[in-house]
Amino acid sequence: MSRNGPLALVFHALFIAFMLAPILVVCVVAFTPEGYLSIPTTDWSLRWFRAIARYPEFISAFWNSLGLAALSSAIAVAFSVPAALAIARYRFRGREALTALFLSPLMIPHVVLGIAFLRFFTQIGIGGTFTGLVIAHVVIVFPFALRLVLASAVGMDRALENAAISLGASSSSVFRRVTLPLILPGVASGWMLAFIQSFDEVTMTVFIAAPGSSTLPVRMFLYIQDNIDPLVTSVSAVVIAVTVVFMVAMDRLYGLEKLLSGRGKD
C-alpha cells in the first residue's frame, strides 16, 4: 500500500484544523473570565457556565428538546419497522415510489417543510403546540430511522423465522421473539441517529415552535441573531460536549461512518 507524501500530510493537517477550528473556538471562548467575547489566555473561568443557570429559558428549552427528540424518534422507529420489513422482503408495485416518498424529507428543504407545517398546523388548530412539534419531527427523522432499520432487515436471515413458524410459533410471537431481536441493532441505531437529528434540527422548528415551547437550537439561533456573547458560547459548549459523548458511544457501538452512510451494522 502506498503511503502519503509530506505534501499530502500537510494538506491533511490543514484540513483537520479547518474541521476542528470552529468547534474548538466555541469551547475555548466559553471559558473566558471576561464579560465580552475573548479567548482566555491565562485565566480560565466557569462563570459563563454558571450563568446558564440564570437563564431558565435555555434550561427549559434543553429539556424540551430532549423530550421531543426521544419521543419523536421512538414514534418514527415504530412507524419505520413495519415499513422497512415490507420494503426489505417484498417486491411489490410501487415499492420504489414508496421508498422515495419515505426518504423525501431528506431532499425537501427544511424551510419548505417548516412553512408547510406552519400553514397546515395553524389551519387544523395545533399551531405552536408540542403535538405539532412531535408530528413534524417524526416526519423529518423518519428517513434516518428507516434507512438503518432497513439495512438490518435486508441482512436478516429469514430461515430463523421459518424455523420458528414450523415449530408452531404464532406470528406475533415470531415477530416479538425472533424478528425484533434480530433487527434490534438497526432499531437501536436508527433511534439514536433519529434522536440526534431531532435534537439538532433548527430550520424547520424555527417556523413552528411557539416562544414558550421552543427547542434549544431554536433558542440559541434566535439569541445569536440578536447578539453574540459568551453565554451562548457556554450553552453551545455544553451541547457540543453532550453530542461528543453521544457520538463516541455511537461510533463504538456501530461505527459512525456506517451509520451516517445508512448501511447500519455489518
Binding site: N4, P22, F102, F117, V138, S236, E257
Partner: protein
C-alpha cells in the same frame, strides 16, 4: 435477498401506517403551501383566499428576488466546488492511512455532522469576528493577505462556513466510492510504469468520480436550502432564498409570498437534482458499457 413470489397485500398493510402519516402530514401540507402561493395578501386583511398569479409574477419580474436566487445559486456552486476539491482529496489521503489513524480521523471529520449547525456556525462567527477575527490575524501573520478580508455579513463568509458544515457529506460519499476501489489496480498501473500523477488521473479519479458527483448533488442541495448558517453569517441584510422565505413569513407576515419563494426553491432544487442525476447516469452508463 429473499423476496416472496406473490406478496399480495402484505407489504401495503405493513407500510400503511407510514403511508397514512406521510400522506396526511407531508403531501397535504405541501399541497396547501403550493395553494397558498396563489393567494393574495393585504396588510390590513391578511391572507385573501383568491386565486391570483401576483406572487409568481412578482417573483420572476422583481430584480430584488432575482438577486436573492442568483446569490443562493452562486453560494451553492462555490460550496459544492470547494467541498468536491478538498473533500475528495482528503478522502483519498485518509484512505491511504493505517487503519488506526483512519478510524480516528474519520470520526473527527464526520463527527461535526452530529453537532448542532448553530454551534458550528457560531464557531465561524467567532473566528471571523469582524476585522479582528482569528482567521484574518492568522492569514495576515502568515503573509497570505495584507489587509483583513471581510467575512462577516459577506458571501465569502457564508461560503467558508457552509463548506465546513457540508464537507462531511462529500468526504463520506467519496470515501464510500474509494472502499469499492481495488488497491491492486493502482499497483498494477504503477508496475506497468505509470507515474503517480497518471495513476491518480487515469485510474483513481475516474473510479471515484461517481462518488464525487453524488456527494456534489447532496452538498449542492443542502447548500441551496441552508438556513441557519446564511442567517447568522449573512446577517439580516444579506439574504438567500431560505432566509428570504423566513422573513416573508415571520417578519413581513406576507405568507403567500413566502410560500411562493419556498415552492420556487423546492421546484428549482428538484429540477436540478433530477436533471443532474440523469446526466450522471447517462455519462457513466457510457463509460461502463
Amino acid at each position: 435477498m429473499a423476496a416472496e413470489d406473490r406478496p399480495g397485500l402484505a407489504p401495503y398493510a405493513l407500510s400503511a401506517p407510514a403511508i397514512a402519516l406521510f400522506a396526511a402530514v407531508v403531501l397535504v401540507p405541501i399541497a396547501l403551501t403550493v395553494l397558498l402561493s396563489f393567494h393574495d395578501y393585504s396588510s390590513t386583511e391578511g391572507i385573501l383566499t383568491v386565486f391570483v398569479l401576483k406572487n409568481w409574477r412578482e417573483l420572476f419580474a422583481d430584480p430584488y428576488f432575482r438577486e436573492m436566487f442568483l446569490r443562493t445559486l452562486r453560494i451553492s456552486l462555490w460550496v459544492t466546488a470547494i467541498c468536491a476539491v478538498l473533500g475528495a482529496s482528503e478522502a483519498y489521503i485518509l484512505n491511504r492511512m493505517s487503519a488506526r489513524w483512519k478510524g480516528i480521523f474519520l470520526l473527527v471529520i464526520l463527527g461535526p455532522l452530529l453537532i448542532s449547525v448553530v454551534a458550528r456556525t457560531l464557531g465561524w462567527a467567532l473566528l471571523f469576528g469582524g476585522s479582528t477575527g482569528v482567521v484574518n490575524q492568522g492569514l495576515m501573520a502568515l503573509g497570505v493577505i495584507s489587509a483583513p478580508i471581510p467575512f462577516m455579513f459577506t458571501e465569502t463568509g457564508i461560503v467558508v462556513a457552509l463548506s465546513h458544515v457540508l464537507m462531511p457529506f462529500m468526504v463520506l460519499s467519496v470515501w464510500a466510492a474509494l472502499q469499492r476501489l481495488d488497491p491492486q489496480i493502482e499497483n498494477a498501473a504503477r508496475s506497468l510504469g505509470a507515474s503517480p500523477a497518471t495513476v491518480l488521473r487515469r485510474v483513481v479519479l475516474p473510479q471515484v468520480m461517481p462518488g464525487v458527483l453524488s456527494g456534489g448533488i447532496i452538498v449542492f442541495a443542502l447548500a441551496a436550502s441552508a438556513f441557519a448558517t446564511p442567517a447568522i453569517i449573512g446577517g439580516r441584510r444579506l439574504k438567500v432564498a431560505s432566509t428570504l422565505a423566513y422573513d416573508e413569513f415571520l417578519n413581513t407576515l406576507n405568507w403567500p409570498m413566502g410560500a411562493a419563494v419556498a415552492v420556487l426553491l423546492l421546484v428549482a432544487l428538484v429540477l436540478i437534482i433530477v436533471g443532474s442525476n440523469r446526466l450522471i447516469e447517462r455519462r457513466y452508463q457510457a463509460v461502463f458499457e
